[in-house]
């Protein structure tokens, strides 16, 4: 496997007159070809901003994003548009992310037109074939988004991302708006498509169970920082960061009567406009030491590709 995407020291700061909000604060990671890297965290942890900054849908404040070794962050607009053929996105809300006045056919053909791929007939053929691939039918070609259910719309969103035959898909909460029975259909579809087209996914979600299911490796974010990054088995079986431990123990299991030790975090996530000094988690951490209050821990490897940013290790 070779590295498809490399993110180095990515930062996104939003400045207001009074304060600076550090939405993403020095995040680095790589995504290998053909793998799924899951990113989990709670609201406001910067996971979506990270996904968007990688595709430069939001301009990063600092840092470098390398795609197949080439810096995306240095590209001019026209070059960037060309590069996006290989980098696509699936959004959370399948109601808001499809133009209600365009037919499904037109929605799916647009990326092909933008990139000047194929003739009109070829494009139509391609779209119809892809509709079948994502579990819809040719007959849906002339329909409008409002005629579809949430799950079907998400299939259209996935088809739109796939139509340019990208290498990397950033999926931001792609199943969060769906009911469980539909959610599993979409997750299965994404897995099948990955196999069929050798796709690489950056899968962003707040749902730890979903991320476990789809990912090979998982990164955990807290207040704009990556606090742990590891192959999924070792992350879920042996979480190292106290935040990851608390997060995992908070997930309700569908097993009645099960007795588990739960680490209940007190208080709320601090504001990213005024993050705590040192380790951002120290204000809620049960294992907080003096050093945690002053010194920001670096993301270090503890073995077997398991990285953690915590002074305990």
């Amino acid at each position: 496997m070779s590295t498809l995407l490399e993110v180095k020291g990515l930062k996104k700061y939003y400045g207001t007159r009074k304060e600076v909000v550090k939405a993403v604060d020095d995040v680095s990671f790589t995504v290998e070809e053909g793998e799924t890297l899951g990113i989990v965290g709670e609201s406001g942890c910067g996971k979506s901003t990270t996904g968007r900054a990688i595709l430069r849908l939001i301009e990063p404040s600092e840092g470098e994003v390398l795609f197949q070794g080439k810096p995306l962050t240095a590209l001019k607009n026209a070059e960037l548009r060309k590069a996006r053929r290989d980098l696509q996105m699936v959004f959370q809300d399948p109601f808001a992310s499809l133009n209600p006045r365009m037919t499904v056919g037109a929605i799916l053909e647009e990326p092909l037109k933008v990139h000047g791929i194929g003739t009109a007939t070829e494009r139509k053929e391609k779209v119809k074939k892809l509709l079948e691939t994502v579990g819809l039918t040719e007959a849906h070609y002339d329909r409008f988004p409002h005629e579809f259910s949430g799950g079907q719309r998400q299939r259209i969103g996935i088809a739109r991302a796939l139509i340019t035959q990208p290498k990397l898909i950033v999926a931001d909460e792609p199943v969060s708006a769906l009911d469980v029975s539909i959610q599993s259909q979409i997750l299965n579809l994404m897995k099948d498509l990955q196999e069929e087209f050798q796709l690489t996914y950056l899968f962003i979600s707040h749902d730890l169970s979903v991320v476990r299911h789809i990912s090979d490796r998982v990164g955990v974010m807290y207040l704009g920082r990556m606090v742990e990054l590891s192959p999924k088995k070792s992350l879920y079986d042996n979480p190292l960061h106290p935040y990851t431990q608390a997060l995992l123990s908070a997930v309700p299991h569908p097993t009645p009567g099960e007795k588990r030790e739960r680490i209940v975090l007190t208080g709320d996530v601090p504001s990213p406009a005024n993050p705590p000094s040192g380790c951002a988690f120290h204000t809620r951490c049960h294992a907080c030491m003096e050093i945690c209050k002053t010194e920001r821990p670096a993301l270090k490897e503890t073995g077997d590709g398991h990285f953690v940013a915590c002074h305990l290790y």
Binding site: S43, S181, I182, S184, Q185, V251, P252, E258, R262
Partner: protein
């Protein structure tokens, strides 16, 4: 245990321009004193409409066409609007999903918390505010004396939901209806809120009707569960039986669709297709088109809700042989 709330053959309909949509189509269940009853189902199954029907808070265009709602010996549907007002918030309280939109942004937390006790208990402003501070303390809000003077936008999502719970519990209701109370919250905050609800339930022996789509939350909180599909109850059981041996194919499918946080599955099972529009299935079982185990009878004959013993019910022809009877009015 005594029954505190009993719903009989409730039918709630939405009146569209040229058709009637049966959102809740003849459901019956009861809630015992001190019990937590889960209502599970996917979008559009009628679970929220059921709770709004109980509170008689339905939007314009929706009407309760049939049924009875017995609460403490009265039929809520026969009460006048004034009588109903003295029940709402006082004897039956409700928590909604979205704590931002269910608090009034232009009033302080203290004022909103005082409204209930001033109205239902005749407290003075001073008494009501003291009581509000007391309630905020109970839901573990730090600095309650200061928070009562703040506005909703100054609080985080978890804090707002605590305020909602404080408000709902402030008149010490017999029944608390919680409609997706933690769905908008992050997991660590969800864990705090569920702990709090359990704690309040145990201290004040409130009965809780917990509406949720999250089976994890159900397993943790509920004593009994009803599963709804397309406006009907398809299964009812105690929480252990439901998770150990779900009787209805829909419940079985739901259980198998959830990814697990503590195990790796290669592939999830899923239920094909999507939920039919309310009122679109006129004949046979409403789940038949998505059911792997469907046979001819399922397409032609509408299954009744079979009584399976030990308080279990299932609306599936496959359960007919083991059934000991049929539920009336359902």
């Amino acid at each position: 245990m005594s029954t505190i709330l009993e719903i009989q053959n409730l039918k709630t309909q939405f009146h569209g321009e040229n058709r009637v949509i049966p959102a809740v189509d003849g459901i019956s269940f009861s809630l015992q004193k001190g019990e937590t009853l889960g209502v599970v189902g996917e979008s559009g199954c009628g679970k929220s409409v059921t709770s709004l029907s109980i509170m008689r808070l339905l939007a314009k265009g929706a009407k309760i066409a049939e049924g009875r709602i017995h609460f403490n010996g009265r039929d809520l549907l026969s009460l006048s609007e004034a009588q109903m007002r003295s029940v709402r918030g006082n004897e039956i309280a409700m928590i909604f999903q979205e704590p931002m939109t269910s608090l009034n942004p232009v009033y302080t937390i203290g004022k909103q918390l005082s409204e209930m006790t001033m109205l239902h208990r005749g407290y003075s402003k001073k008494q009501a505010l003291d009581h509000a501070v007391e309630m905020l303390k109970k839901v573990n809000i730090p600095r309650p004396e200061k928070i009562v003077h703040e506005y909703p936008h100054q609080l985080s999502g978890g804090m707002r939901q605590r305020v909602m719970i404080a408000m709902a519990m402030s008149c010490d209701p017999d029944v608390l209806i919680a409609d997706e109370p933690t769905t908008a919250l992050d997991v660590t905050i969800q864990a705090q809120i569920l702990d709090l609800m359990r704690d309040l339930r145990d201290r004040q022996s409130t009965s809780i009707l917990l509406i949720t789509h999250d089976l994890g939350v159900v397993a943790e909180m509920c004593d009994r569960v009803i599963v709804m599909y397309a406006g009907q109850v398809v299964e009812a059981a105690d929480v252990n039986s439901l998770f150990e041996r779900p009787a209805h194919p829909y419940t079985q499918g739901l259980m198998r669709s959830i990814p697990k946080v503590d195990a790796d599955l290669d592939r999830l099972e899923s239920i094909p297709g999507s939920v039919p529009l309310p009122g679109s299935v006129r004949q046979g079982c409403r789940f038949a088109s998505r059911c792997e185990q469907a046979h001819d009878k399922c397409l032609s004959d509408t299954p009744p809700l079979f009584e399976l013993g030990e308080g279990r019910q299932s609306r599936c022809w496959l359960n007919q042989e083991s059934a000991i009877g049929e539920v009336q009015h359902a």
